[in-house]
């Protein structure tokens, strides 16, 4: 918890500081393995709503679970064989009234909880757009063996294992996988969603505090799975265009050829950015114009991953 507290103190004051101090604070947080808290310390409206429902559900259930556990202990203790004051009632084996109560209590609780489930599932459906004054930032996510590719189609840039988003702007993610199933999850921003090859899922998130948030795959995907995490830098709105223009000036370009290098299995990839990206890349991956990842290298007998007539 200490690390979490330090992470927080590094993030919180930064809202009221000048840019240079903010960057220093961001670097300080990054040095703490870049990360802060769990799902109960949300830094965005979706995460906040998810964890509120989580706490509400625990509260609703505790209302019967805690008395039940207490009664179990009391009954077991009072009716112990060595207690002469307890009345032995060996013929107490049925009671219609009690049966009605026994069935009613869980039914009523589940009916109440069922309402929470129904409303929550619809309100917090990951596909549901977040209402805001501005259009969402579009990000296309591709899970690869074993790294994350983030494509910014509006900005025509891309990054690996590093996601930079502006604070307060909703982000609309479209996600797919280049090989096996994975799941995209930033615990402090909220809902996770699976990524699957040949299929597109969607997710809408917003960060409402600047900071660095840990992101990971939550669907085991093979030997390099544990290294398949990324950092989300939530930066101030005016800082985001500056980051974009910095990225656009430097680094490799991501075309289909570069994608084939990315497709090979690698572990613990360091974050880096692409100055430009083929705008049709995501669609090409999704529709199998670009073949799925080749899997492990098997003694030279593996499939040829370059498409016929490639380059």
């Amino acid at each position: 918890m200490a690390a979490y507290a330090r992470g927080l103190s590094a993030v919180r004051p930064s809202r009221y500081l000048p840019v240079s101090a903010r960057i220093a604070a961001a670097l300080a947080t990054a040095s703490l393995a870049g990360c802060s808290g769990g799902v109960l310390q949300p830094r965005g409206p979706i995460g906040a709503a998810d964890s509120q429902i989580l706490l509400d559900a625990v509260g609703i259930m505790s209302a019967i679970v805690v008395p039940t556990i207490a009664a179990l202990f009391i009954f077991a203790w009072w009716f112990r064989a060595s207690n002469p004051r307890a009345r032995y009632q060996p013929d107490f084996v049925y009671s219609g009234r009690l049966e009605i109560i026994i069935w009613s209590i869980p039914i009523l609780v589940i009916m109440f909880l069922g309402g929470v489930i129904w409303i929550g599932s619809h309100e917090l459906d990951p596909y549901r757009p977040i209402s805001a004054d501005e259009p969402p930032l579009e990000v296309q996510v591709v899970s690869l063996d074993w790294k994350w590719l983030f494509i910014y189609p509006q900005q025509r840039i891309a990054s690996v294992n590093e996601l930079v988003i502006p604070v307060g702007t909703p982000v609309h993610f479209e996600l797919t996988s280049a090989s096996v199933m994975n799941a995209f999850f930033v615990p402090q921003l909220g809902s996770m969603i699976a990524t699957m090859n040949g299929m597109k899922t969607q997710l809408n998130l917003t960060a409402d505090h600047p900071g660095d948030y840990y992101g990971e795959s939550t669907q085991y995907s093979g030997d390099g799975f544990s290294g398949m995490h990324f950092v989300v830098h939530a930066v101030a709105k005016d800082e985001f265009p500056r980051w974009v223009s910095t990225v656009q000036q430097d680094g490799p370009a991501l075309d289909r050829n570069g994608y084939f290098d990315l497709l090979q299995q690698t572990q613990n990839a360091r974050p880096f950015t692409y100055r430009s990206v083929d705008p049709s890349l995501f669609q090409a991956i999704l529709t199998h114009q670009l073949p799925p990842g080749p899997g492990p290298y098997v003694g030279g007998a593996g499939p040829n991953v370059r498409p016929v007539g490639g380059r």
Binding site: A3, A33, C35, G38, D50, S51, I53, L54, V58, M61, S62, V65, T68, I69, A71, L72, F75, A76, R87, Y88, Q89, P90, F92, V93, Y94, E99, I102, W103, I105, P106, I107, I110, G114, V116, I117, W118, G120, S121, L124, D125, Y127, S179, V180, M181, A183, P187, S191, M192, I193, A194, M196, N197, Y220, G222, F225, S226, G227, H288, P292, V298
Partner: protein
Amino acid sequence: MFVPLAVGDMLGKLTLNAIPLDQPIPLIAGGVVILVVVAVIAWIVLRGHLPYLWREWITSVDHKRIGVMYVLLGLVMLLRGFIDAIMMRSQQALAFHAAGYLPPEHYDQVFSAHGTIMIFFAAMPLMIGLMNFVVPLQLGVRDVAFPTLNSTSFWLTATGALLVNISLVIGEFARTGWLPYPPLSEARYSPGVGVDYYLWALQISGVGTLLTGVNFVTTILKIRAPGMSYLRMPVFCWTALCANLLIVAAFPVLTATLAMLLLDRYLGFHFFTNSAGGNMMMFINLIWAWGHPEVYILVLPAFGVFSEVIPTFSGKPLFGYRSMVVATLFICLVSFLVWLHHFFTMGAGGDVNATFGIATSIIAVGTGVKIYNWMFTMYGGRIRFATPMLWSMGFLVTFTIGGMTGVLLAVPPADFQLHNSLFLVAHFHNVIIAGVLFAAFAGLTYWFPKAFGFRLHEGWGKAAFWFSLAGFYITFIPLYAVGLLGMTRRMQHYDLALWRPWVLAAGVGILVFMCALACQVIQLVVSIRRREELRDFTGDPWNGRSLEWSTASPPPAFNFAVLPNVQGEEPYWHIKRRAIETQQLTAEPDYQPIEMPRNSPTGFITAFFATVTGFALIWDIWWLVGVGLACAYAVFVWFAWRDVEEHQIPAEEVARIDRARRKAREEWLATEGHEEWLTSHGQGGTS
């Protein structure tokens, strides 16, 4: 590679490279296991126990012997799975900003094997073993419907367990998790033999489990003592019936799903591949259409065990018997309607997620009713806190917490944050350890004197319970916490300082569990050494209520000299009451000779060839596949053509055995103190 070409061709993919000579951990582990097995076999052969073992156990078709062997298999595999758990916890404790001592390709096998072994080869055999031993005795009959099939079921399950353990030394095990989600499990992403070991082990043992299901459904529906109507059956029989109905309905789904994956892997089909129209979501749907009922296949018999133990040690019949039966049937039905909650995060949309979320939480109604019924069974009782009752109390409290976290995970927005996290891992260990494992130990302690004629040592049993309970909380409360902090499952290493203290705490918990294991072993050793003072002379060591306590401990091969005539719920309670009231047993019956099924090596030999076939399929040794299948079929034909299927126990033998039992009972009746028992104990269940 160093094998000559001709022999090499004969062995399919199998070469000396399959033995992990470069990896010390599996090599040493495998070596130790082989040494122990060889030593045990050598001891058996040299001491001349082999003929006895063959005659009385390996070829036995007696449901009690098969039950004991199932439990033994379950306990050995529990130990294997527990060693995997120790490796996982210690790896995570070490792997903060470090590689730890298990590289990913090994760590991934360890957690896959842990899950597979614990579910299929520890929990399932323990529950099926208890059902095997107890159900015919409780129904007041002499055996299950198909005794030889029962033996075959057991040996096929053992085949699966053997194949999984062979993978430790020859080749590798799956690196896909305990449910091999495609496309990771497809040949492209898992080209090794690991997934094949998994698939064939489960296909073969799955046949055994399905046959068990058929056998027990038939037994419970068709073979019961005179007067044992459905609503007079003990609740354990009801839960066994429901669990086996679930087996019959769900296991074919598993077999078909795994068969499709096998076709993908072996013959280039495209059921679940990325390309050519395959869809991995179909696998995930199908595997959970089996997987969720499987949870209830495990936990329903566990509920049954507690429904026997709690009344016995409360000195009261079960409260709300009919309510309990209804709740069991309700759970049995609804368990088939909730599978989608295992993948809320695949983006199915609000309507679908909400429907399955609500369906899932509805199951909690059935479970909640059961908890309350057990609670009111204790109300007004005289509770003796013997070891089985302690396990039951531990279950009631811990399982209630596990149920709560389960319903929490059924709320889709909460699941969006907790799916696949260590919170989920903590949840299902909460329900499986507190539910199934505690039930297994409660049942084991409870029925052990029935099986072997002496009780287990109370002190060491209680120590094992307290260490298990503490071990559970110390291991899994931190995992709940670290799951809320966002740590996902199956991580071989991690860099977040936030998680470290919790991971270390869970590592301490596993040490406490090791103490529990030590107590279990000591308990067994001490009990065997002091068996004379722990002996159960009457056959009724706990003041029991159902029919298994009316026969001797251990019961004769035929269970009952004369089939009991059941006149109400808790039939043995009434027999006992009448005997005390009249101070005499019922008149000695007219003993008749009893026909019992003959022992048969069919199951063992079939399973031997199934092992050979499975191994050959894994390594593409096609000629051996042919030989194995042909021989297995030949065994079946040889068995089907048998001339004599039963042997007769003469009336004098039956009389001699039963008179010994009656003598012990009469001596018990002649001891003092029963008048007080009579006035203070109730009428028992409604007649």
